[in-house]
């Protein structure tokens, strides 16, 4: 009701809404935080005016008479607070709210409650997180204020539920504990924790305020994991490559040998054109060396690599390229591209456009270059373990270094324990060849041995002029060496079990 003055006339303008009794209020909810007191709230009608008053009246089971709310103020507006003296458990309350104004009053519906059914505690307070680092393993401990008052005497039994999560992940729920620890927390992550509680079998409280904790990063762990993952990737790649190549190795099928051959690509054994291995084996070295002497100066020609590749793949009696079967049996296609799978039949793959720097790079990838005991500038041919002329040793290739303007690769060798192995390659009978290989007219390092190809049970024989200088020892003294070697297969892939078998340099008669 409000007044308006207009032209001397007092007009009483009545708000239509205020001319009637108030609207019907509604009892919204009642809660008890500890099963000893409780509070009820109601909602007045939206159209009620400011002058409407509210009264809460109730009846109680086992009690005669209508009672009124003992406290309208403690819990705020439109509420009624029942203290301990006015609270009874296992007793039905019948509550009504009456809205009263000048024009009448309106009573709400009866709201029946039993305090034991409306227990809903407040969320736990003082949720504390603290981090414990035990040998770099972070653990988060969560504590909070627990119910004490009614718990000690058994009146109420609280239970708690906790949830935690890392930022941007899902909640993990843990229940029925009075304290909690998160073990093996992820380093470097931000954790969020919330706790809620319930009494007896009542309703759960609201979740507590979020509490954060940042777990510090563990540097050592990161490095370890980087190392571990990298090693695992390498190992996996090694295994895969080994399996891919496994079929190429028909002679040696043991695992270790396969790994060895992959890690240490075999250097093709020396094959000297014009040497008949069988002759040597038969002990007729005289005839074998005679052929060598004839051919020792065979020239390197300037043919492109491609043609030479063809040439050296010729088998036995014909000049055709090795077919697939022979490829499997004897290994390899010479390929400039060490990473690609050799394709014998496809001459187009072979090209000579690659410069030696690329070759070196590729070879460095293939060859283990990490040995600290690398002996640069090898100056001797590998020695045999036995004195027999036919036992062949294996060369472990290290640090392949290309020579300028050369189509061949100088192989630096290292004195390591040799493993006996044979290279089974088709032997090239010099008399079948019509081509001549030009020899590079360049100054060679004294201590290099150039090999061209691993071919059969070949012996690498030194230039006859060195015979006098070499005993059954390694070649140490640098003397001009006129290698009668042939082209080396640079790529490890290109050989079967292609460890270079360099014979012990000894007097060759």
């Amino acid at each position: 009701m409000w007044f308006m003055k207009k032209k001397g006339l007092w007009l009483i303008v009545l708000n239509v809404n205020n001319n009637s009794p108030p609207g019907k209020p509604v009892l919204k909810q009642c809660h008890s935080p500890d099963k000893e007191i409780f509070t009820c709230w109601w909602e007045p009608n939206a159209h009620d005016g400011e002058d409407t008053t509210y009264r809460l009246l109730y009846e109680k089971e086992l009690t005669i008479g209508i009672l009124e709310c003992p406290d309208y103020h403690t819990a705020g507006k439109n509420s009624c607070f029942f203290d301990k003296n006015h609270t009874s458990i296992w007793v039905d309350y019948f509550l009504t709210v009456v809205a009263i104004n000048a024009f009448g009053n309106t009573t709400s519906d009866v709201y029946k409650i039993d305090v034991v059914d409306i227990v809903k505690p407040n969320p736990p307070e003082n949720v504390t997180l603290w981090l414990e680092l035990c040998e770099d393993i972070p653990t988060i401990h969560v504590t909070w204020n627990s119910f004490n008052i009614g718990t000690k005497c058994g009146w109420i039994t609280p239970k708690y539920q906790l949830r935690f999560k890392k930022v941007d992940s899902k909640w993990n729920y843990v229940g029925e504990q009075t304290q909690f620890s998160i073990y093996s927390a992820s380093p470097g992550k931000l954790y969020i924790v919330q706790v809620q509680c319930a009494l007896d079998n009542g309703a759960w409280s609201e979740w507590s305020n979020t509490t954060f904790i940042q777990v510090p990063r563990s540097e050592s762990k990161q490095h370890i994991w980087i190392l571990v993952s990298f090693s695992a990737i390498l190992l996996f790649a090694a295994v895969c490559i080994m399996f891919i190549k496994k079929k190429r190795y028909t002679n040696k099928c043991c695992l270790f040998h396969s790994i060895q051959q992959w890690l240490l690509p075999p250097v093709p054994g020396p094959r000297i054109k014009g040497i008949d291995v069988q002759l040597l084996k038969n002990g007729r070295s005289h005839e074998a060396t005679r052929a060598l002497l004839i051919n020792h100066g065979f020239p390197w020609n300037g043919m492109p690599w491609k043609n030479q590749a063809e040439e050296y793949l010729l088998v036995r009696d014909d000049n055709k390229l090795l077919n697939e079967d022979q490829k499997h049996t004897h290994g390899k296609m010479i390929s400039n591209n060490c990473h690609s799978k050799p394709n014998i039949n496809n001459q187009l793959n072979v090209h000579n456009s690659m410069n030696f720097k690329e070759e070196k790079t590729i070879l460095d990838d293939l060859v283990d270059t990490s040995q600290s005991e690398l002996v640069n500038e090898l100056n001797y041919v590998n020695t045999m373990k036995t004195d027999t002329a036919f036992s062949i040793d294996t060369i472990y290739v290290r640090n392949v270094k290309p020579v300028e303007n050369s189509r061949y690769v100088d192989i630096q060798r290292q004195d390591v324990d040799m493993e006996y192995s044979t290279v089974r390659e088709p032997m090239l009978f010099p008399e079948k060849q019509n081509k001549v290989i030009n020899r590079q007219q360049e100054r060679l390092p004294y201590d290099y041995t150039r090999v061209k190809e691993v071919n059969g049970d070949m012996l690498l024989l030194q230039d006859p002029s060195f015979r006098n200088n070499t005993q059954n020892t390694d070649y140490i003294n640098p003397t001009p060496l006129h290698p009668v070697t042939e082209k080396v297969h640079e790529c490890a892939e290109s050989l079967n079990d292609g460890y270079v078998d360099n014979p012990h340099t000894h007097n060759v008669k």
Binding site: K35, E36, E59, K60, E61, L62, K84, T87, S88, I89, W90, V91, D92, F94, D109, V110, K112, D114, V116, G150, T151, K152, C153, G154, W155, T157, D200, N201
Partner: protein, 201 residues
């Protein structure tokens, strides 16, 4: 199975314990009383849960929106048994609390036993037996007088009733039983924390 029933196990353990203690009355640990309390409290919790389910099923089926405008609900048949309705009163009673529990359990045996198909009747009976054992032990340990010994006989008096109006479809009956089972559970907890407070209170 017979052996899986916790109340039966509890009874067996108690009987064995009593036998042993009768042979060696000195030095029987009090811990077994706490164990017994835990067992009967668990049993009462199960019973209360079952009663809540029963009532809830009834409500969901019949969906009564009981509107007791200006009226109080019907009295339960156990309303005559005076029970503490707040924490202070409950803590004040110890002996009386045991008596109240047993009275309630005895009072509910009759209406629930009538419906043999219901598991809850058997549960009430077993719980009553368990509480009797607890009370006997407490008396043996000197924690309680002999006032309640009258209730321990197996054929303790149920409230005089002809049992005719026991209608388990009665909503009030379900409501009353649910409330009384909650009382029993709560009283047992209070009793335990007064008797053996060092074990989980």
């Amino acid at each position: 199975a017979f052996y899986s029933n916790p109340a039966v196990v509890c009874l067996a353990v108690t009987a064995l314990w009593i036998l042993l203690c009768s042979l060696a009355p000195q030095g029987c640990p009090v811990l077994s009383l706490a164990n017994l309390f835990d067992r009967v409290i668990q049993h009462s919790a199960r019973m209360h849960g079952l009663s809540s389910d029963l009532r809830q099923d009834f409500v969901s089926v019949w969906a009564p929106s009981r509107n007791h405008i200006g009226r109080v609900s019907r009295y339960c048949h156990t309303s005559s048994i005076l029970t503490p309705n707040d924490k202070e009163n409950a803590q004040r009673m110890t002996e009386e609390l045991t008596e109240v529990i047993l009275k309630l359990l005895v009072a509910w045996r009759e209406p629930l036993w009538a419906d043999k198909a219901l598991q809850v009747g058997r549960m009430v009976h077993e719980l009553r037996t368990g509480v009797q054992r607890v009370a006997q032990k407490m008396q043996m340990l000197g924690m309680m007088g002999n006032a309640v010994s009258g209730l321990w006989s197996p054929d303790a008096q149920a409230p005089p009733d002809d049992g005719s109006h026991w209608n388990f479809g009665n909503y009030d009956l379900l409501r009353c039983f649910r409330r009384d089972s909650n009382k029993v559970q709560n009283y047992l907890k209070i009793l335990k924390c007064r008797t053996v407070p060092e074990y989980g209170c």
